[in-house]
């Protein structure tokens, strides 16, 4: 009987394809929107966590200047760090490795090719702290890192622009007019979640950059990794205390430097992402509700149109429960059909969006099943009222209906 009812429902729906399609359009749009939102949201949060992972885990970054929200305050001179600050931090037991860095914008030339990029002066610690690995060649040694020797480590983007696919190790490039030997190539990391290309970089020993490019002893920022098992909060307190002492900040005065935990940024970005995804999905879910009302509307019209048919069925011996099931199943088949079309459309939309936004396309079976179940539920909820109306018809009245 159920099979018969299902077949009947499909036949009734196929009898009026255009009307059936318009009836379920609301559900199609609702399901497609929810699926697209959740899939894109999931993809972008994967993207965020991947790019934060690429910044290095358990990493703190110290920068001079107050930690401010909003536009930076003008006219405030902030003292930069020095290499001695980095050395002092390295002495702390909670700190595993330190990488002071200073950067300058430069033009790099190799043969006929040239490229405007950023050179970062740093020490041997930069590669492990930043979570980098060497693709070819080697990192600076400890002594090279602290010296003024003209060695370069380049990122994948720089290699591509200057050398194409050739092996750059042992070649030399000219950075700000200085000849610099390439000793290593970093493995590519790709863009950050803010879109900055991390591979567009040249690393040089920090003293070389200070002496020959920036012309001062300033250290722009210090990145450090914490020792195994150290809590970020207590480490931050210890580091802040040390830095306040070194920078002679009186009791009661604000810090003139900031400490950023990359994990905090990661969780903040993931949080924003989750809120946005949730918000957009709820808006999309409202259209599912509207879609359900559309189905109810058409089912009510259908019951009125088919009053005589219902009368015939009742006279022939259909019980009211069977008439109820007939119309309920019809509504459910309609809405599930809309759900399936919506799922396909939503996944296609998410796929296109993923390509355009350069984020991973991550269809989730759970979300698909949820959308499927939800569209069936919409059919049951909004189909019940019209179906009950059909089931309660009096056969004599129904047969008399024109």
């Amino acid at each position: 009987m159920l099979w018969e009812t299902l077949r009947l429902a499909v036949r009734t729906i196929r009898r009026n394809v255009l009307r059936s399609f318009l009836t379920v359009l609301g559900v199609v749009i609702g399901v497609a929107a929810v699926i697209a939102m959740l899939t894109v949201g999931q993809g972008s949060s994967q993207q965020v966590s991947a790019s934060v992972q690429s910044l290095g885990s358990n990493v703190l970054v110290l920068r001079p200047g107050k930690r401010t929200m909003g536009p930076p305050t003008q006219g405030e001179t902030t003292r930069a760090f020095t290499l001695r600050d980095a050395d002092a931090l390295a002495e702390l037991p909670v700190v595993a490795a330190v990488a002071p860095s200073t950067s300058a914008s430069v033009t790099a030339v190799a043969g006929n090719a040239n490229l405007t990029t950023t050179v970062t002066g740093t020490t041997a610690g930069y590669v492990p702290v930043g979570g980098w690995t060497m693709a070819i060649g080697r990192n600076f040694s400890e002594t090279e890192g602290r010296s003024g020797v003209l060695y370069c480590i380049i990122g994948e983007t720089v290699r591509e622009k200057l050398f194409g696919r050739a092996d750059p190790v042992g070649q030399s490039i000219r950075v700000k007019g200085l000849s610099c030997e390439v000793i290593g190539l970093l493995s590519p990391k790709g863009a950050t979640s803010f879109g900055r290309d991390q591979d567009d970089t040249i690393l040089m020993p920090i003293r070389a950059v200070q002496r020959r490019m920036t012309g001062n002893d300033d250290v722009g920022s210090i990145s450090l990794t914490l020792a195994e098992g150290v809590s970020s909060a207590s480490a931050q307190r210890e580091i802040a205390a040390l830095m306040r002492e070194r920078r002679r900040i009186a009791e009661g005065q604000d810090d003139n430097f900031s400490i950023t935990d990359m994990k905090e940024i990661a969780s903040m970005l993931t949080g924003i992402n989750a809120v946005l995804t949730g918000l957009l999905s709820s808006v999309a879910a409202v259209s599912l509700l509207v879609g359900g009302i559309g189905i109810m509307n058409i089912m009510l019209v259908s019951v009125t149109e088919r009053t005589r048919e219902i009368g015939i069925r009742l006279a022939i011996g259909a019980q009211s429960g069977q008439v109820l099931m007939q119309f309920l199943i019809e509504a459910v088949v309609l809405s599930v059909l809309g759900g399936v079309i919506g799922i396909a459309t939503g996944l296609a939309m998410a796929y296109v969006a993923a390509q355009v936004m350069a984020i991973p396309f991550t269809p989730q079976i759970g979300v698909v099943l949820l959308a499927f179940g939800f569209s069936a539920l919409v059919g049951v909820v909004f189909g019940y009222f019209p179906a009950r109306r059909a089931a309660r018809l009096d056969p004599i009245e129904a047969l008399r209906h024109q």
């Binding site: 018969e4 069925r313 011996g317 019980q319 004599i396």
Partner: protein
């Protein structure tokens, strides 16, 4: 009584005992049936006539288990069925009754075969057997070869044959026909009546038919005439009875 002696051996299928049917209440109360008693035996072909408002349609609805009497007893094959609820009556209709209507009442945009299959679907007859039986029913009414036709592709007479096949398909005990020739021309009407007569005579099917056409009543073996909610006359089809019906 003549009918009793004619088919005295046959058991009663339908027994109405002092059936009343009232609509509304108080001042607005309308008495559609005011105490009707009627016994119809296995194998009878009964015509019911009467002017409009005489209660014949109400009586048909009660006999057809579409409506419930206000008071009185209705025994179907010896069982009290007058006060059964809607679903129980639906089951009885499904298994024992076949309906033929004036307006044919076929499902539109549904083939003849599928229309005839309908009662078998509700009787939960499995697919292949159902098609087999529906085909057989169509053949019995002379419509073999028209299985795939839509009602809109069939003439009025053919549509009514499909409706008869549908009524037959469920192998009912009684066929209830409500003005089966009301929408047909004379030629088609006689063909339909010949078909019903043959089913009654050759297959022993009990038929109760409401009609307002004398010619059609002639095909029946017994005539019941309703006037003002009561049975005014009941007996074999004769000129005298028909005259009463016409006069009323």
């Amino acid at each position: 009584m003549a009918t009793a002696s004619l088919s005295g051996a046959a058991p009663p299928v339908i027994e109405l005992r002092d059936i009343t049917r009232r609509y509304g209440s108080g001042e607005a109360e309308v008495v559609a049936l005011g105490g009707v008693s009627l016994t119809i035996r296995q194998g009878e072909f009964v015509a019911i006539m009467g002017p409009s408002g005489s209660g014949k349609s109400t009586a048909m609805n009660i006999i057809g288990l579409l409506d419930r009497p206000t008071s009185g007893h209705y025994l179907f094959q010896g069982h009290e069925v007058g006060q059964l609820d809607q679903d129980q009556r639906a089951l009885l209709r499904r298994h024992y009754l076949g309906f033929i209507f004036q307006g044919f009442n076929l499902l539109p945009r549904t083939t003849a075969l599928e229309n005839v299959e309908l009662p078998l679907v509700y009787k939960a007859v499995p697919g292949p057997e159902r098609i087999e039986r529906a085909r057989a029913a169509l053949a019995r009414v002379g419509l073999a070869g028209r299985e795939g036709h839509d009602p809109s592709q069939l003439s009025g007479g053919q549509q009514q044959r499909v409706a008869i096949a549908r009524a037959l398909a469920g192998s009912p005990t009684v066929i209830l026909a409500d003005e089966p020739t009301g929408n047909l021309d004379t030629q088609r009407s006689h063909e339909i009546m010949q078909l019903l007569t043959r089913l009654n005579r050759d297959e022993g099917l009990t038929i109760v038919m409401v009609t307002h056409e004398e010619h059609m009543a002639h095909y029946a073996s017994r005539l019941v005439v309703f006037v003002d909610g009561t049975v005014q006359s009941d007996g074999p089809v004769q000129g005298e009875n028909l005259h009463v019906a016409k006069g009323g």
